[in-house]
């Protein structure tokens, strides 16, 4: 499913996907044995809803990581988008607020890339710290804007049916957020596999110098991946506050780690130049199911964090082991 289709990489890809599928199935199986309620329709709907925000952020993150960079600013962007969008619903209307939220995400993402390109910070480590810095800036802006207070959707008197639909609605047996996710996945997959810029992102991640010297738009790719990440993060943010019906100025906390976890566990390498949004879907499934199952089994959230960290390390280890 990667960009190259030779035998070795197919086997490699299958092995990677197979391993994660085994992990997902084992997880579900164990949970069902100990807690049959896992299969209740209430819980399954719940999982589908939890899936939404993280899947959006992770799809965006996939592009950044394939491009050979990383984006730690998603936590800050999520918080900023959440507080501004919610506060705009009443004065500006539901749809304008939604559009504004997405635009803020895009602008914040673009700003990241602008800072990175201006600094000439073209290594993954530099991008890591720059986006970390930007995350604190966006997070602080969210706190300043909201004066540190959490806003409740129920305070809005002018109607919130759009957000109710995103957070609670369903189309048939699928939640609205899941349908949005499928749509985004389809568009991004086509974009990644079939378009010039999709290819340019891969080439940038593989070898920036060679790509630039062949006349591939490297800078444009870098701007693009961060902008996509920004928009997708904003979409994730809107899904999240719609579901929990409150917009706290720290709502995006931990999303950067979870998204990177999902992307890497899915099998997109942190070295860049290789991977796919489809793989990320598996990664998001694992991470979401992990939270859900652990919650059902009564594992403390602290322990869950330990487990996630361990999984990330194991995923990187496996990835590098297969390389050598």
């Amino acid at each position: 499913m990667g960009l190259q289709i030779n035998h070795r990489s197919v086997i490699k890809a299958l092995f990677k996907d197979y391993l994660i599928l085994v992990a997902i199935i084992a997880l579900v199986f164990v949970t069902i044995i100990f807690e049959p309620k896992f299969l209740s329709s209430a819980n399954l709907t719940n999982i589908m809803r939890q899936f939404g925000p993280l899947s959006m952020v992770s799809l965006g993150m996939t592009f950044v990581i394939i491009g050979g960079f990383i984006d730690l600013s998603v936590a800050g962007i999520m918080s900023l988008v959440a507080v501004i969008t919610v506060s705009l619903i009443e004065p500006a209307g539901q749809f304008p607020a939604l559009i504004a939220g997405l635009c803020i995400g895009a602008a914040a993402g673009y700003l990241n890339s602008a800072v990175i390109l201006t600094c000439g910070a073209l290594t993954s480590a530099e991008a890591l710290f720059i986006t970390f810095g930007m995350s604190t800036v966006y997070g602080a802006l969210a706190l300043i804007f909201s004066k540190g207070a959490t806003q409740h959707m129920s305070w809005i008197t002018s109607g919130t049916w759009v957000y109710d639909a995103i957070g609670q609605g369903s189309v048939g047996f699928l939640s609205v957020s899941f349908v949005v996710f499928l749509l985004c996945l389809f568009i991004l997959y086509i974009f990644q596999q079939k378009t010039y810029l999709g290819r340019a992102v891969f080439l940038t991640g593989c070898n920036k110098t060679a790509a630039e010297l062949s006349g591939v738009h490297v800078k444009r790719s870098i701007r693009l991946i961060y902008t996509i990440s920004g928009i997708m993060t904003a979409a994730g943010s809107i899904m999240l506050f719609s579901r929990v019906t409150t917009a706290s100025p720290v709502i995006g906390k931990n999303y950067e780690t979870n998204a990177i976890l999902a992307v890497v566990v899915g099998g997109t390498t942190l070295r860049g130049g290789e991977g796919s949004v489809l793989r990320t879907v598996l990664g998001v499934m694992l991470v979401t199911l992990l939270s859900n199952c652990m919650n059902m089994l009564g594992v403390s959230t602290f322990m869950q964090t330990v487990l996630k960290g361990a999984i990330l390390i194991i995923a990187i280890w496996l990835d590098n082991r297969k390389e050598s």
């Binding site: 960009l3 190259q4 289709i5 030779n6 070795r8 990489s9 079939k194 378009t195 010039y196 810029l197 999709g198 290819r199 340019a200 891969f202 080439l203 593989c206 070898n207 110098t209 060679a210 790509a211 630039e212 010297l213 062949s214 006349g215 591939v216 738009h217 130049g273 290789e274």
Partner: protein
């Protein structure tokens, strides 16, 4: 295991190594005696590197025996082999740039050396013994390539090596530095140290080695004393067919049939370049000669828009053209094959197909979407036309030999039908057969009306292939020659800057 010739330090017998799908080595036997220099030659992919990696313990052999210093060697690790007295000096040095020379030589053994003072004293001794005057306290990052090589040799000696393998040791040395290297090799020989010298440069093999082992496709084709081989024999055995000449007949143009100016560069200035002006005629091969670091690469990179320039005036076909980045250059019909294949040329983890289509991607795009079937066509066309040896167009580029990788990059640029093809060290590290094919390609480009700028550290290559050469020294153009008339010495004088005209 004392049944071996006491003189032989290394004896490999019937060593076979198979990788999935490829037989890398098939019953390879090699023998080196103490104090002997064995030249190991063969095209890229002939199995030389695999052989060396088996010796050092990076790979394990499937079958066969290796006897080193009287002992049979099985499942050795690289560190063990080093301690047994087998050192390999790779093309890419294993040095820590941020540490001093002395520390590098005794890396990890400071305790045995009783601290830094002992380390540096010992290092000094070693360097003196090979006649090197490098300060043991200077940082490796401050050294020249040849000095780094000396440090590597000293490091090998610090392990009391009985056999030193040098992999392409001369690839970035100047003539003087090469002579120094030869002196050292002769010294080591006298001390009874055996050397395996791997090189594509046949002159060096003839000058330096006692015996030569020729490999092809994982087999040893022949082992003979150097004196019993002629250059052409050797080439024929390496490539499996005879090549009449190392260079094709020089494309006759420019000088003999003066034609229009295609490219004109006026007062090009950067941090390193000073007032570079030159012209390139239609159908001409223009050679750049100069030392590594003289500014040859900087000139073409500036023309191609890869580096920032302080100000320049580039005209193509008389029209002023603004080149701010490689895309502008590409649009103007300029193509650039960079000097470092792996770092600047290839997307190594990508397929051959994707590597070939890289420069043509924007042409394959309609409404933002790539035409992937046309991409396949392009890859197919160039794989066939250039004779790129690859199992499939979807094979990853990293699996190809150097020559075939280079052809991928050349094919990438031929696809855009360039007027001006810039080749920076196009034959570095590739074998004789592939070299010849690259030369033929150059000829074809010129015959089809294109022009070429050729940069190479191999003087014979530039002199044999160019219609006109420019010498470059310390960021200035110091001379212009007709390679058919000028003698090599006067060209080199200008290139090294001996005549003083370079510095105004």
């Amino acid at each position: 295991m004392e049944n071996i010739d006491s003189e032989a330090i290394l004896k490999m017998k019937d060593v076979t190594k198979t990788f999935p799908g490829v037989k890398a080595l098939e019953k390879v036997s090699i023998e080196v005696k103490r104090g002997q220099v064995l030249g190991l030659v063969g095209e890229n992919g002939a199995g030389k590197s695999t052989l060396m990696k088996i010796l050092s313990g990076v790979y394990t052999k499937d079958s066969g025996t290796v006897i080193f210093d009287g002992e049979t060697i099985e499942n050795i690790t690289p560190v063990e082999s080093l301690h047994r007295g087998l050192s390999i000096i790779y093309q890419e040095f294993n040095l820590v740039n941020s540490m001093t020379v002395g520390e590098n030589i005794y890396l990890g053994r400071f305790k045995e050396m009783r601290g830094m003072r002992g380390t540096h004293a010992k290092a000094r001794e070693l360097l003196d013994s090979i006649g090197s005057r490098i300060d043991t306290w200077s940082l490796v990052s401050e050294l020249s390539v040849s000095e780094m090589q000396m440090v590597e040799i000293a490091k090998a000696l610090s392990f009391n090596s009985k056999l030193i393998i040098m992999d392409e040791p001369s690839s970035s040395l100047t003539a003087d530095e090469l002579k120094k290297l030869f002196d050292i090799v002769h010294q080591l020989k006298k001390r009874g140290i055996a050397i395996i010298y791997i090189s594509h440069k046949l002159d060096e093999i003839f000058d330096l080695c006692d015996i030569v082992t020729i490999m092809r496709d994982g087999h040893v084709i022949d082992t003979k004393p150097v004196g019993e081989l002629t250059r052409n024999d050797m080439i024929a055995k390496m490539v499996g067919r005879s090549i009449e000449n190392e260079y094709p007949e020089r494309p006759r143009c420019a000088v003999h049939c003066p034609s229009d100016t295609l490219l004109e560069v006026r007062s090009l200035n950067t941090k390193k370049l000073h007032d570079i002006s030159f012209t390139l005629k239609k159908g001409e091969i223009l050679g750049f000669i100069g030392l590594v670091g003289a500014g040859r690469t900087e000139i073409v990179r500036a023309v191609f828009g890869a580096d920032k320039v302080k100000g320049h005036d580039i005209r193509i076909n008389g029209k002023h053209i603004k080149i701010k980045n490689p895309r502008d250059a590409k649009a103007a019909g300029v193509a650039f094959v960079p000097e470092d294949r792996k770092l600047q040329g290839l997307a190594l983890s990508f397929s051959v197909k994707h590597n070939i289509s890289m420069a043509a991607l924007d042409r394959l795009t309609k409404y933002g979407f790539l035409n992937t079937s046309a991409e396949k066509g392009i890859a197919e066309k160039h794989i066939k036309a250039l004779g790129i040896k690859t199992p499939h167009m979807n094979t990853t580029a990293v699996n190809l030999s150097g020559g075939n990788q280079q052809k991928c990059i050349v094919g990438r640029w031929l696809e855009i039908n360039p007027n001006i093809l810039i080749l920076d060290e196009p034959t570095r590290g590739i074998d004789v057969g592939a070299k010849y094919e690259i030369y033929l390609l150059m000829k074809k480009v010129v015959e089809n009306g294109g022009s070429i700028i050729l940069i190479s550290s191999e003087l014979p290559e530039v002199l044999n292939m160019s219609n006109r050469v420019l010498t470059i020294c310390e960021g200035r153009i110091t001379g212009e020659f007709d390679p058919e008339e000028a003698d090599a010495n006067s060209i080199m004088e200008k290139a090294i800057g001996l005549s003083g005209e370079g510095k105004i």
